[in-house]
Amino acid sequence: MIIKKLVSLFIVLVLLINPTSVFADEMSISGNGEGSSSNVNIQSFATNTVEQNNQAEVNNDVSADTNTGENQASDNTGGDTNINTGNAEVVLGVENTMNLSSAEIGCCPSPTEVEIKNNGNDSSNTINLDLTNTTTVNVNNDATITNNIYGYANTGENEANDNGGNVIINTGDIYGKIFVDNGPINVAHVSAGTGGGGLLASISGNGSGSVNDIFFNQNLNTDVRVNNNADIKNILSFYANTGKNKANGNLGNVLIDTGDILVDIFVKNTVNLSFVDVNCCQNPQNPPPCPESECPTPTPPCTENCNPSGPCVSDCGGGGNGGGGGGDSAGAAGPAAVLGAVLPATGGYDLIFLTLAGLLFIASGIMLRRQSNKPLSQVFAFV
């Protein structure tokens, strides 16, 4: 009679894990005796949740006033009368940058390793793996911008009445430029490397008549929701006048020459840009769980939470950042860093350091030569 030694091992692991950890482990049924029965049940629930809410409201009131006109030269009896007004230039600008969001869950977990090995004859060995990995990313960007821009430029409205001689009114040109650059506004970059890391299963070295089963069930749920809402009002007004000049009741000839008006208006809105990259971790080229030293390093104001045994979670919540300017200066703009990137570094300081080293060698050599009759301690006494 075959002695049946029943070993029943029942393990239920229910892991409700914070956003920085996922399931990655090793399980083994090994070295059990003849006729044994081993049963391992494992359930794992991993949940990664990132929620970013950015709300910004900006009102820019920008105005500029330039006037070289409204001159009067009347009732002159002797000689000619000239009114020459200068040119008027008005430049108004507003730039708004806000709500730049970046969420990265970019590091894939290691595969789960499962093995049934070296168990005895007629043994029964079963591993049930049930892994559920849920990644939820919610990004809500809400921007409200009102740009009120008013410009006034006048070189006209001059009067030269009732003069005895000739009258010349020559008004200057007007050059106006308004630019409104709203953007980037509401930019969401979501990069989610989701997945349970896969399974490495091995059944080997078990005795004859053994029954060995590995059941693996993996559920990967990724839910990314990006809601961008932008309400932008650009209210632009520009008054430009070189005319409305008066020259009445003059005895001589009258010449009124009005200047040109050139107004450039540029409005650009770049809003609601969403980049969602969901990368399944089954690709063997994907990186393993990241060591702390290799975690991505986004630029401030990102805050990073890195767990060496799990994924890197980087939350970059961009707050409102807007501004305005008036007169000849453009409006203030936020830093143009986009998605934590910097331009490639194509220089280095080694050239300077080694140049200094070379010069130091030469200077030291010259000192040694010139004062070769002195002891070394005196030559470099200043050191």
Binding site: A345, G348, L351, L354, T355, L359, F361, I362, G365
Partner: protein, 178 residues
């Protein structure tokens, strides 16, 4: 013959060593200022090249280099001028580097700041030659990627570090097709 003390010869040795060090550092840079014929450049891939006659820059182009992956682009810059992956008309190269890395390509953009509006840039892409003229240049902080990420159409941007010998800021040269 009068025998000199030992530190006289040690001084001579230090001077010679210092001069050799400076020569090693600056020889590749001096070569950039010499009017060498471009045809004399020695590299195998002549289907992808960049030529800037005014600053005597002629180098192979390494295509599809991740501009935001330092390890990748540093390896590419040892071979020539890098063309950014995903931004086809963005090229960058060293203005300076460690002396042990100073090949003839590593400082190919050393004189990029000398370019002025109207200067010619010739890029050969898969054997097809395209000519550009400089229309603007800017110096920006490294985090100011706006101009590069918003690059569109046929416009071209060349980038290197400035001031020379540092990686403090970035010099951007803007060009348009002729």
């Amino acid at each position: 013959m009068k025998k000199r003390p030992w530190n006289y010869y040690a001084g001579n040795g230090l001077i010679i060593f210092g001069l050799l060090l400076l020569l090693t550092i600056y020889l590749p840079i001096i070569k950039l200022f010499l009017p060498l014929p471009h045809a004399a450049a020695d590299f195998s891939d002549t289907n992808n090249t960049i030529l800037i006659p005014k600053i005597n820059a002629y180098a192979p182009v390494i295509k599809e280099v991740d501009a935001f992956n330092e390890a990748e682009y540093r390896a590419a810059l040892k071979k020539g001028v890098a063309q950014a992956k995903g931004i086809p008309n963005f090229y960058f190269a060293h203005s300076s580097d460690s002396p042990w890395n100073l090949t003839s390509y590593n400082t190919v953009f050393l004189r990029l700041g000398e370019l002025k509006n109207g200067d010619e840039i010739v890029i050969k892409d898969e054997g097809v030659e395209k000519k550009y003229k400089v229309v603007d240049k800017k110096i920006v902080w490294p985090s100011d990627v706006k101009a590069v990420t918003q690059l569109s159409g046929d416009k071209l941007i060349l980038q290197t570090c400035t001031p020379i010998g540092t990686s403090l800021k970035r010099l951007l040269i803007f060009a348009e097709p002729v």
